[in-house]
Symmetry: C2
């Protein structure tokens, strides 16, 4: 069923949903008719199931028939934090991690990051990235659009992760537990964080710092993942382990 | 460590590895020096650990120091079979599933497939796809290059899957078990198959046929995955479940 988010220019008031702004253009592409069913989601996990009542060039109105929780939101709130990658890899991470159920997707500069963003370029990227998250949330039936953000550095990622039930730091070498050992020893998991490196990986001192911050430094097995594949594979595994896949 | 496959133009004979053909070009890009360590893999799970002894413009020779099993091969042999997708999504599936440990990656035309390939176009695609699998196998440290292939139809995918310990058919609607239920009730898993649909998904009769063929028709949870994300997420989950992640 076509899905719109209130953040996308649509709104709901007095039992009527108004599909406007950029969403109106999307509605035109979908060639909606009077009586068609659509979902207008509040972006906070609540779905308004609606029936289209009026169509004009810049707005679609729809009657709210029923409001209920979006079934697609996972029971665990996962923050994915990835080293800022080059090219379109960040977009890939955002799209795939949204489908896999991430709640937040944040990028950080780290020691071996090749990519640098100045403030202006960062803001432009962020608005593009947030649109990609919204598109993927619509397409996959999510009730929440993951927040996309840029962190100042790895220390911010560590602090964000440390506040969760399962702060995972994925590292390629050295003494580490497996992802499964970390997940299975965590007890009830309501929140989790997945930290993965940029193209060049992490420096040894970054992994040491993660361990000092009580993050779970763990491996993803003997294969080397690309920086854009690692968060998707780890998130899929975590969703599977917590009965969300 | 730089990694070459015998299939890529390299060979090993009498304790000496010869890095030639396309691999020689790759070796030039890497700027190898005498004494550098490289791995020449037989593509069958055996790694020859070598030291470079001679460099010429079209060949690098290296002494085999030790031969041992590649540690990156998973304990379960997984055949991924996906509905033939449009654009570059097949390439994406090949690259990511190679990283995640697939043994074979096969595409099939099905009822709702938009993409059609004639024989000539198919052969050209296949040779390009096989190169992508080889590149991804090198980069991720695999000991086997997954075989990439085109099946004649969904029936071939069903037959291939039915011969494995865990034939998974991922379907979006209706009565299904979860992926986890299917995996956990399978007992020892030495071989598995993951079948996912094209952009338009599967028809109901295709899922019914899968059930009749004793495939495990199962869901991937309440979120809708893109056709290129589903195999990667399912394979990651299966590798996690079988202690290969």
């Amino acid at each position: 069923m076509p899905r719109f988010f209130i953040s996308g220019g649509s709104s709901v008031a007095g039992g009527v949903a108004f599909i406007a702004g950029e969403d109106a253009a999307h509605a035109r592409v979908l060639r909606l008719h009077i009586g068609d069913r659509v979902i207008v989601c509040d972006g906070n996990g609540q779905d308004h199931h609606c029936s289209v009542t009026r169509i004009s060039p810049d707005m679609v109105e729809a009657e709210v028939l029923e409001t209920r929780s979006c079934p697609a939101e996972p029971s665990v709130r996962v923050t994915v934090m990835a080293g800022l990658p080059k090219g379109d890899k960040a977009e890939y991470i955002i799209q795939k991690c949204t489908e896999c159920g991430a709640s937040e997707i944040l990028f950080f500069p780290s020691h071996r990051c090749v990519m640098k963003l100045d403030r202006g370029a960062g803001e432009k990227k962020l608005s593009r990235w947030q649109r990609i998250a919204e598109e993927a949330a619509k397409q996959s039936g999510r009730g929440v659009i993951p927040r996309v953000g840029l962190l100042g550095g790895l220390d911010e990622a560590f602090n964000t992760a440390a506040a969760t039930d399962l702060p995972l730091f994925l590292y390629e070498t050295g003494e580490r537990e497996t992802l499964k050992e970390a997940v299975e020893s965590a007890g009830a998991i309501r929140t989790a964080a997945i930290i993965t490196g940029p193209e060049g990986g992490f420096e040894g001192f970054e992994a040491e710092l993660a361990a000092m911050m009580k993050l779970r430094v763990c491996s993803m097995g003997p294969r080397i993942f690309r920086c854009e594949t690692a968060p998707v594979a780890a998130l899929s595994a975590l969703m599977y382990a917590t009965d969300n896949l």
